[in-house]
Symmetry: C2
Subunit: 345 residues, 2 copies
């Protein structure tokens, strides 16, 4: 087994040594059925991953390493994909935000605040505060329409191990859709993990001085995802979040070069609500091997284009995800090879 002094885990050695989460088979069965039905009904499907992953430090989990993410990007994006006519597999961290209910966070906009009790002479009725009625009606109508159409399928993960097993399985199921599948990887995935074989069974006891944790690197799964799991046909969008803005573009370009997928959306931690940058290949249909054979390393830098999306931060009615999804739907349409007019739902 790889360790800190051994070579890092590859995707292959990871899945060979780390146990699958319980419930994986049932999750796969659900996805299989969803993909089949959406295919029959002629919809494109997007897999949206959302929220942070945990790294448990103990087998009986009390402590874990986590990544900052409320799941806002993923939940909001899923909603706009649904509006655009996509079927959505929403694979999210347990308790992170979800499409539709995200508008009514228990902390910032608790729904109990806009329900009222109407006390009549003989009975009590629950009604909605008039000023909140229009907004709720809109969200509720969309939610019910999506439920009726059956276009949203939700999956839950907690640990980075759940995430990796689920991502591989869902990608393999979705690969039957070929170019009609999009993969929108908005989850904040840990770069490090603690192999099962190194975990302590019980709660780590304090009182013994300082805590030392030594973790292994999570294998880079984008390359096997592009080349094997999705058979090079999936339209794959990954995210790069940095706090040091100067690293954003070079790291996004490096990711495209290394993994050969279609788009990296770069965002700065403090500007991500109103500014993102799309980094992509200049020729969107170029496959990795074409690019590899046509370009020497120096001219490769010229093969990327960057395109910035910004919204007015003072307008609270705008959500940048609306623009992100509109742009991606356009690009995906080109990728699928359909005429653009056929892309509307």
């Amino acid at each position: 087994m790889p360790g800190s002094s051994s070579p890092p885990f590859s995707a292959e050695s990871y899945f060979a040594t780390q146990p699958p989460p319980p419930g994986l088979e049932q999750d796969i069965a659900g996805v299989k059925e969803f993909v089949k039905r959406q295919t029959e009904e002629g919809r494109k499907i997007v897999l949206v991953t959302s929220g942070g992953t945990t790294v448990p430090l103990e087998l009986n989990v009390v402590r874990f390493l986590d990544n900052f993410s409320a799941g806002t990007r993923g939940a909001t994006s899923a909603e706009y994909f649904l509006k655009a006519g996509y079927a959505v597999i929403f694979m999210h961290r347990q308790f992170s935000l979800q499409p539709f209910s995200r508008h009514y966070s228990h902390s910032t906009n608790p729904f109990l605040d806009f329900l009222e009790i109407d006390r009549g002479p003989t009975s009590q009725e629950i009604c909605v505060t008039p000023s909140k009625r229009e907004d709720l009606l809109q969200v509720l109508a969309l939610y019910k329409a999506v439920q009726a159409a059956g276009t949203l399928h939700t999956l839950t993960f907690v640990t980075v191990n759940d995430y990796l097993w689920l991502l591989r399985a869902v990608s393999q199921e979705l690969s039957t859709m070929k170019r009609k599948a999009m993969y929108y990887l908005a989850a904040a995935v840990s770069d490090f993990f603690l192999p099962r074989q190194k975990m302590s069974e019980h709660k780590i006891q304090s009182g013994k001085g300082s805590l030392h944790i030594e973790m292994d690197q999570v294998p880079k799964i984008l390359k096997p995802m592009v080349e094997d799991w999705t058979g090079k046909d999936g339209y794959i969008v990954s995210f790069k979040l940095e706090t040091d803005q100067s690293l954003l573009i070079p790291k996004a370009q490096a990711a495209l070069r290394r993994y050969g997928h279609q788009v990296v959306i770069g965002n700065d931690l403090n500007r991500r609500k109103f500014e993102v940058v799309f980094i992509s290949w200049k020729s969107p249909k170029a496959t990795i091997s074409e690019v590899d054979s046509n370009l020497n390393p120096e001219s490769r830098e010229n093969s990327f284009e960057e395109s910035w999306l910004r919204i007015d931060i003072t307008d609270s009615n705008q959500e940048i995800e609306e623009n992100i999804i509109a742009e991606l739907v356009k690009r995906h349409t080109v990728w699928v090879g359909e005429p653009e007019s056929a892309a509307a739902p």
Copy 2:
């Protein structure tokens, strides 16, 4: 500054070296006003802490260590304290469960599922699914009554540093209530932290092999809380969560001996929903110094009593917090020195 090779942080050196969270002064002002009003209105106050604390690894936080806790124990307990006539300061981890709205988790019981759109000929109305009406009406009535009485004050923390500063400040404000204040410390607080001075400013870059984290111990704050912050008069209840049940009683007794507070509620990670144990001094009114002077170390073990609370796990309508709070209200009444009949709200 203490470090892993230096002596551990004391509460004193902690607060002298770690910066207070922004917003602390405003939080204190709010608590001051709340305590003043509740005192005037003759209510007892309980501080309920709830949810896990994070330990950021970076200044621009992307990664953090966390403790497992949805905040169920704290949110449920706060609700029963409110029902028992207490005023509640609910100091909880951002996004953890809250009293009342906890019944409608977006994951397990999303409220959008039991709202319906009633489409009339000229207008649309939102109404509640009949089967859900009674339960919602009950929760909503309690929620509105608490809002009208102004007996719930909510504070939010994220990091263990937020938690420590807030706990000290709130305890100091509450200490003016003397024995009428209870402190119910249900939050899952990290035992370790990374001193501000050791944090990396930007996101720790991966790709450089394995991750090594070395953390310092969080100072034990129960002793200064008992002796200084609350002036030995507060009725302080702490929790001990273990995964190894054999450690529960000895560790709970050790905590009482070390800190001199009133009750430790012990719970096993896997049995905590239906079984807890109260560990307390045999003579509930004994102060630390009386115990210290009257007992030699050997006979001290005889000075504790343990009392188990269990509920029927097959009855989903029972919540063990109802029994925990009923027991604590009784004990607190004795502590305050009131006749028991005066304890009801």
